[in-house]
């Protein structure tokens, strides 16, 4: 192969690398939880690669639902988060959760701490607008931030430090599956 061809390939690669990439701001993934299901599509596997999970999420009118009784309606659906170091997410994890309750879209911090669940109300959001979410992983606690509201700290019980922190994607429930197709747009910020 001649040097000219190699140079041409290098040139094409350089053009692709530095000009043709999709703008970061456009990297929105639309997750759909089909009616009767818990898990969202697309199914993805990804691990946390920094001590902060920062993203924007936008619900729409599909986030409005009626499960027919208060107990199920007051059950948290999961938005996004991560399992803690090498732990199953029902052992140690930190996630944002949401529910349609009292005619509002409520957002919660939702953690498992050594197998014990802890939930804290963070605030409400409106459908059809992007809101800013972040979870910062500190040595002894998680910090949940929703928009400009006061951050909420939850003690971290995992003593593990180095290992796999897998991302937890949108999930409906609770025990009840999605009553209709529910979609949410998520844009992870790096």
């Amino acid at each position: 192969m001649s040097r000219r061809v190699a140079f041409l390939i290098l040139l094409i690669q350089a053009v692709v690398m530095f000009t043709a990439c999709e703008p970061e701001s456009e990297l929105v993934t639309s997750f759909v939880i089909p009616s009767g299901e818990h898990y969202s599509t697309p199914r993805m596997f990804e691990s946390l690669q920094s001590n902060k999970l920062h993203f924007k999420a936008r619900f729409n009118e599909t986030a409005i639902y009626d499960l027919g009784n208060i107990a199920d309606q007051n059950s948290k659906n999961k938005l996004l988060g991560f399992s803690d170091c090498n732990a199953h997410h029902h052992e140690n994890s930190a996630r944002f959760a949401w529910q349609w309750f009292n005619n509002e879209l409520q957002i919660y911090a939702y953690c498992y701490l050594n197998g014990i669940r802890e939930e804290r109300f963070l605030g409400t959001v409106h459908p059809d607008e992007f809101n800013d979410y972040s979870i910062t992983l500190e040595d002894d606690f998680y910090v949940f931030r929703l928009n400009q509201l006061d951050p909420v700290k939850i003690d971290r019980t995992s003593t593990c430090d180095k290992g796999l922190y897998y991302i937890l994607w949108p999930y409906f429930g609770g025990s009840m599956p999605a009553p209709h197709d529910i979609s949410v747009d998520i844009k992870i910020l790096y």
């Binding site: 192969m1 290098l10 990439c21 690669q49 920094s50 902060k52 910062t136 180095k162 992870i188 790096y190």
Partner: protein, 145 residues
């Protein structure tokens, strides 16, 4: 320390059997920005090459508790898929820790073009942060006699 000794002893053993020592200096473009990477590996006669790598990427817009740079250190295994005299297509699996903490495993498909006997260009497509990434590297091979 024990792990480090085991890894080093493995590489010492491999280097004795290796036909070529390879170094790659390059850039990986990801959705989270561009990272500078350095790789050192030992290629066998069949172009199977285990090695170690280091990647550094400036961090943008992070809290005061994190450093300005993200480091990704680990080891890799390169497996040849197809080869000709001056071209080599490989599959590479990289695994290591980001910021000495977060375990990350990434696949990479690469094409090598040898421009000179010891000098080559390497282009690849990988998968980082849930999205495709592109790599471009300069390869230098130290051949054993």
């Amino acid at each position: 320390m024990k792990t480090l000794l085991i890894v080093l002893s493995c590489f010492c053993t491999l280097s004795l059997h290796a036909q070529t020592v390879e170094t790659l200096l390059g850039v990986e473009k990801t959705v989270a920005g561009s990272a500078l990477s350095l790789r050192l590996g030992f290629a066998t006669k069949r172009n199977i090459a285990p090695g170690v790598f280091a990647q550094v990427k400036p961090r943008i817009g992070f809290s005061e508790t994190t450093s300005d740079y993200e480091t990704f250190l680990g080891s890799y295994l390169q497996i040849p898929i197809a080869s000709s005299e001056k071209l080599l297509v490989t599959f590479t699996i990289q695994g290591g820790f980001v910021d000495y903490r977060f375990l990350v495993v990434t696949p990479l498909a690469e094409t090598r073009i040898m421009v000179r006997r010891n000098l080559g260009l390497v282009f690849g497509l990988g998968y980082r942060y849930g999205y495709p990434s592109a790599t471009s590297s300069l390869l230098y091979r130290f051949k054993q006699k």
